[in-house]
Amino acid sequence: MTALQHGREDVEDIEETRSAAVAAASGRPGRPDRAVVRDSLAVGLAVGVSGVAFGVTGAAAHLTVWQICALSLLVFTGASQFALVGSLAAGAAPFAAVAGALFLGVRNSFYGMRLGERLQLPRWVRPFAAQAVIDETAAVALVQPDRRSARLGFTVTGVCLYAVWNATTFAGAIGADALGDTSRYGLDVAGPAVFLALLAPRLREGGEERAVALLGALLALVAVTFLPAGMPVLVALAAVPAVAFARSARTRTRTKKNENNEKAEEHAR
């Protein structure tokens, strides 16, 4: 480690000591490690067990246990994994299936930027930490009050979730294989139900989110009647610029109206 790096870490330490002191002075002590670890383990376990649903969905899509486990080990970002398996099961061309899964993975870049700023990881640690840059680790790490607890929360959530997600994926895949015809037990809807469960909280955010979801679903349902499998999902992306355009057009009209009103008022004066 170079002297420069040492220097930077010292500055960080000072910053942290200061923020801890400020926290203490304001009556809000810095977060104890035990509280951070407890929260991280809770998230890791609660979300990790959903790996069962992925294992089952993979088996229902006729992937081998090895392929299902490889997805959880290597891809390790739930929505993309479910999307790939679902598209492959629907007979999508590999290229279209991969494209849909990758579009769902773009958001991790944005988590990465936030986390990079927050965690200040040494360069050599980044390639290892990257695999853990997902919804849950970002959610836990970014709400911590200081760098130390953010790093702790990121690490514990990431390791716990990775272990549990992969173990339960394996269990789900083996279990579904043993059951045989999974659609008899309704297990073929585990995939769409997962998408719905991921979507639901986003729909509470506002009208634009709901409009994008509705238009995206409609575009896909229309597109599926004539486009090759895998493409309808990508067509749904057109809902994003469409809704944004409709919204900006509406705001523009509104501003224009306001301007006209102001002019009219000025005239009246």
Binding site: V47, G86, G216
Partner: protein, 103 residues
């Protein structure tokens, strides 16, 4: 190597690259309002499309309303009432299986 394995490896490499890219670029480089808004809304469009297709789609180009729709409707109610993730999935599975058993 089968196309399934190729798709798995392609997704793995791509998703990892997105994660590492985020950690490595200086903050603010990709952080324009337009890009950020697209990144926030794109998953919503994709998730809604995937839900609709896997609920109503019938390979290769058909649409149909069957037991899956009942299961997803029940899951929708559960999700709306803020049921935990696995409960939402379980409700969909059980209702779909029950409707299939009855019809």
């Amino acid at each position: 190597m089968s196309t399934t394995w190729l798709a798995i490896l392609g997704t793995a490499v791509g998703c990892y690259a997105f994660k590492l890219l985020g950690l490595s670029v200086p903050a603010g480089l990709l952080d324009r309002p337009v890009v950020r808004r697209f990144a926030a809304l794109a998953p919503i469009a994709l998730l809604a499309a995937l839900t609709a297709l896997q609920t109503f789609g019938q390979a290769p180009h058909g649409l149909t309303v069957d037991a899956r729709a009942a299961g997803l409707a029940a899951a929708g109610i559960a999700a709306w009432r803020r049921a935990p993730f696995l409960v939402v999935v379980l409700v969909a599975v059980l209702v779909t299986a029950a409707v299939r058993d009855l019809t």
